[in-house]
Amino acid sequence: MQFKSMILANAEVSPGYWRMRMTAPPEFAAAQPGQFVMVRVNSAIDPLLRRPFGIFDVGTYVPAHSGAQPQPYLEMLYRVVGKGTAMLSELHETDLLDILGPLGKGFDLGPLEEEKLIVGGGVGLAPLYLLAKELVRQSRVRLFAGGRTRDDILCITEFERLGVECYVATEDGSLGERGLVTEALEKRLDLDAGNASIFACGPHGMLNAVAAIAARRALSCQVSLEGYMACGMGACLGCVTPGHHHSPETPDYRCVCTDGPVFDSVDLKWGA
């Protein structure tokens, strides 16, 4: 659906990373973890296209005025990387945004008895918080959060508050273990793979590595992808990603926006 949303809060949570809360229609209560929104940053033509962002959280709040009913809200966690996100970070409480969503196919929560391993690289954590909120109801959940430095490790406290066990790895060792988050994941799997399933979001290289780890151990693995998007609804065919059987001769492209952004890792074509 398309709606006008009012910003309730917009704050920098770590250098370069922002968290925005905004009003949402009641339908957002049913948003699936892993779905996303397309945000029109402003009404001018620069930037022209909407920007896609994962749904970090949904919930309800009670407005300040007396006798107010609880209202649904939506949260995004975003990194300032270019023009659109820079403009977003300059918006204030009560400013309005035009939003499309929830869009796409979210995570499949999987069987209850499994252990759930969540792997997030940097702002890739964004769609994993709502996921963790759902998963902790029924399963044991561990989070593997990675980043270059400790500034890239986001919202760990929030995950811990859910009862998620958190493992942190930074490339420079400034927080948690020094190294890649995939190393932390493998270490844990070496200890006890059991019948865990994996949920991952982050840079493509990280997802590639996670998919390989899952494949080697025959674990179920879902990944949330990014892709350059114009429409977000399967019409422009701009956002596609090669499916497992893709080759130049037998092309097999999937729409990240409607077939994904969450895919079972075995359905995708991965690099060497």
Binding site: M1, Q2, R40, I45, D46, P47, L48, L49, R50, D98, L100, G227, Y228, M229, A230, C231, M233, G234, A235, C236, L237, G238, C239, V240, T241, P251, D252, Y253
Partner: protein, 304 residues
């Protein structure tokens, strides 16, 4: 009083002049949640070919100042899957569906026209001639008047449905292209298709698009589109469908003044999925506010 918004393009009566542009509206169903399809004049499907086409590697799109480039590579399900999977939806909508199509050879164009001619759910054919002619060394059909005449005349033989020819703007003389297509039997002309553009990523030192160049669309191209519609409308008798950067009802009415009988909304649907419907409503509101009884009185009404 409700103004008359109906227009006639190539024998099809449209409830209003607003269509959606090929490649920006899927096969119609994708936008049904955002646009009441029965509030727009017609919709044009994604370009179809005989065989399914996988399209280009990614990245396929990039934003540019006031516009975007796409190099989708004409990915489409192919005519067979179209008939099986997409046509049933068309039956449920009381709005003309126009099939956009293309080929690599004149024979493929003709075969496509023949196949589409047999589909009752299709109200008209829009032939995209912005494709390289594989038999003639890859020269784009739509950039050579003789080539364009040939392919259009051949398609004309293959269908009794209204035949709309969609012109490429990447030419020195749009008027001679338009004349050639009209002479070959086109019932209407759509213009413009995308300009050819390119974007470069300085840091990687590579083109942004995997295909290197792409089709340039969006508000940035409106001045070129408007100019071409005006140039062609002054000399060609068949109706014109104006396309290129239309974002608002004002934009749409400007194209009508320049000589377009109808317009198509492309890139705007990405930015605002209900754009086509809002533009139709906005045009009607403008007619009311300005006491214009019929949109037909504005066609080509530019005072120069």
């Amino acid at each position: 009083m409700k103004p008359d918004m109906t227009v006639n393009i190539a024998g099809i009566a449209l409830r209003n002049p607003v269509m959606t542009a090929s490649g920006t509206f899927g096969y119609g169903a994708e936008f049904a949640q955002y646009v009441d399809l029965e509030k727009i004049g017609a919709f044009v499907t994604k370009g179809l070919s005989l065989q399914p086409r996988a399209g280009n590697p990614t990245p396929r799109i990039v934003e540019t100042p006031g516009g975007m480039l796409n190099a989708i590579g004409l990915q489409n399900v192919g005519i067979d899957a179209f008939i099986e999977k997409k046509v049933p939806f068309l039956r449920t909508v009381n709005t003309p569906a126009i099939a956009n199509f293309f080929g690599n050879t004149v024979d493929e164009y003709v075969e496509m026209a023949r196949r589409l001619d047999g589909i009752p759910e299709i109200a008209a054919l829009e032939v995209n001639i912005s494709c390289p002619n594989v038999k003639q060394g890859g020269i784009v059909f739509g950039t050579d008047a003789q080539c364009a005449f040939g392919v259009v005349a051949a398609c004309r033989e293959a269908t009794i449905k209204p035949l709309i020819v969609k012109l490429s703007p990447n030419v020195t003389d749009i008027v001679s292209m338009a004349r050639a297509c009209a002479d070959a039997g086109a019932d209407a002309l759509s213009l413009i298709n995308t300009l050819t553009g390119m974007a470069i990523d300085l840091n990687s030192r590579k083109p942004v698009l995997a295909n290197i160049t792409g089709g340039f669309s969006g508000p940035a191209i409106k001045p070129v589109a408007l100019r071409m519609v005006w140039q062609v409308a002054r000399v060609v008798k068949i109706p014109i469908i104006g396309i290129g950067g239309i974002m608002t009802a004002t934009d749409a009415l400007e194209f009508i003044l320049a000589g377009a009988t109808a317009i198509q909304v492309g890139t705007a649907s990405f930015i605002n999925p209900s754009a086509a419907q809002e533009i139709a409503e906005g045009m009607e509101a403008w007619l009311v506010n300005n006491g214009v009884a019929s949109v037909n009185s504005l066609i080509g009404a530019l005072e120069v």
